[in-house]
């Protein structure tokens, strides 16, 4: 379970998170929508401790992320994150990209790591690209590789930060299909996205962020068909 309690975060004078409360249960898929600058991506990087927070608390299965005593490297094994920019490691083959963390972080033997990586890569449809370098892959393939790379650590939670935003439109579908598949398999996920169709189809709950606050959260049907907050109404009217 991920518990976010009254989290505040500023960059200089700009307060990007103004007291966020959100609890994500195991097996739940929560999508976060909202305009740019609403703080949704920052929230994800705070959840896995890449960004410090100013006040409040984030706990993952009872471990407080930003406590001094927390071993973040250890905690991050539980929480996979995939970014808008997929950040393939260009000097490593697809297979090596995926085996790096299992080998170096979990201390897995090469053969074992490769077996897991192959399984994950086949899972996301890249079983025939193992020895290819990322530069030979399309954006969508690189993004799916990044997803496999995160999954190879067998995380309990996955965070997706606008993973389709940097892709050519015709490549968005294949990545969303991969996310859908993960959701159906019961992965606990928080997805920041601009894909409203995806949010509607896949999520258990949809949260709408506006200027650093979570203006509204609810089941997709409710939020999309009967938004309560005026900003949600405005946002949805514009994206439709």
């Amino acid at each position: 379970m991920i518990e976010i309690q009254n989290v505040r975060k500023s960059f200089g004078d700009l307060e990007v998170l103004k007291g966020i409360d959100l609890t994500v249960q195991k097996g739940e898929v929560v999508t976060v929508i909202g305009g740019s600058g609403s703080g949704k991506s920052t929230l994800l990087t705070c959840i896995n401790g890449l960004e410090p927070i100013d006040s409040g608390r984030i706990t993952i299965d009872g471990t407080e992320v930003h406590a001094k005593s927390t071993n973040l490297n250890k905690l991050r094994r539980k929480v996979g994150i995939v970014f808008q920019q997929w950040n393939a490691f260009p000097h490593l083959t697809v297979l090596e990209n995926v085996t790096l963390a299992p080998r170096k972080v979990l201390g897995m033997a090469k053969a074992e790591a490769e077996a897991i990586a192959e399984k994950q890569l086949r899972h996301v449809g890249l079983g025939d690209k193992l020895t290819t370098y990322p530069s030979r892959l399309s954006g969508g393939q690189q993004q799916r590789m990044a997803i496999a790379r995160a999954l190879a650590m067998s995380p309990d939670y996955m965070l997706f930060d606008e993973v389709t935003s940097a892709l050519d439109p015709q490549l968005v579908g294949e990545v969303l299909e991969t996310l859908k598949m993960l959701a159906e398999e019961g992965m606990t996920m928080i997805c920041v996205t601009h894909e409203m169709g995806f949010a509607r189809d896949v999520s258990n709950r949809v949260a709408f962020f506006h200027q650093g606050i979570m203006a509204e959260i609810g089941a997709p049907d409710q939020l999309f068909n009967d938004p309560q907050h005026p900003e949600t109404q405005k946002f949805l009217a514009n994206v439709r």
Binding site: N73, R76, F83, N87, F89, P90, H91, L100, R149
Partner: protein
């Protein structure tokens, strides 16, 4: 006015000795590059460490190496430290001097290479649970070394040429030192040094061309 008679045969007779010297020259250059690269990696880590004393140490090294004559650096490694009672053989002194110079220049090359690697690479590594050091070792460093590979071959050429400064600290077993001794023995100055120049040229050219061939393989991705 021009009554010098070339005696190339005399010079060519000495070719085996000069080639032995060339081997020593290459030894010094290769060793100084290997050590220089390792030190430059260390200095780069110092620069990234965020610790003021370590950063200052690295910066001082780079500044001295790049802004003083290589001859000064080699002199200091021999006669300079001798003032404090530390005595190195000419071979060790020239090795220290050139290594110092290599490390300084390479650190600066590495800095440029690091700029070409997006910050998000390290971040992606951290988010997979790698420690900062692991992320540097497995993600940043290999890319940095590849990007700065061609500048490294330039530095290798420099290292070969800098060995000629060894004569100033009494080095006489390298190519330049051997040539100088043979000159004192035979007075075939032009022939001997011309031959040495050709050998220097062939060595450095081989390094440059070999470097390009290797680079083509390294940049496969």
């Amino acid at each position: 006015m021009f009554d010098y008679t070339f005696q190339w045969k005399q010079a060519f007779n000495r070719l085996p000795q000069m080639l032995d010297g060339a081997v020593v020259t290459m030894e010094i250059a290769i060793l100084s590059m290997v050590l220089g690269i390792l030190l430059a990696i260390l200095l780069t880590v110092f620069r990234l460490s965020g610790s003021r004393p370590l950063m200052a140490f690295a910066t001082t090294w780079v500044e001295i190496a790049r802004n003083t004559p290589a001859l000064f650096q080699i002199y200091m490694a021999h006669f300079g430290v001798a003032s404090f009672g530390i005595h190195f053989s000419p071979f060790v002194s020239i090795l220290i001097g050139i290594t110092f110079n290599n490390a300084g220049y390479l650190t600066e090359n590495f800095r440029g290479a690091l700029k070409a690697i997006p910050d998000t690479q390290g971040r992606a590594g951290r988010s997979l649970g790698l420690t900062q050091l692991q992320s540097f070792r497995y993600i940043i460093l290999p890319q940095m070394l590849r990007i700065s590979f061609l500048p490294m071959t330039n530095q290798m050429v420099w290292a070969i040429l800098m060995t000629s400064l060894g004569v100033t600290v009494g080095m006489n077993s390298d190519l330049y030192g051997v040539t100088q001794d043979l000159n004192a023995l035979t007075f075939r100055t032009f022939e001997l040094f011309a031959l040495a120049a050709v050998i220097f040229y062939l060595i450095t050219k081989t390094i440059t061309l070999g470097g390009r061939l290797i680079a083509a393989r390294l940049f496969r991705y």
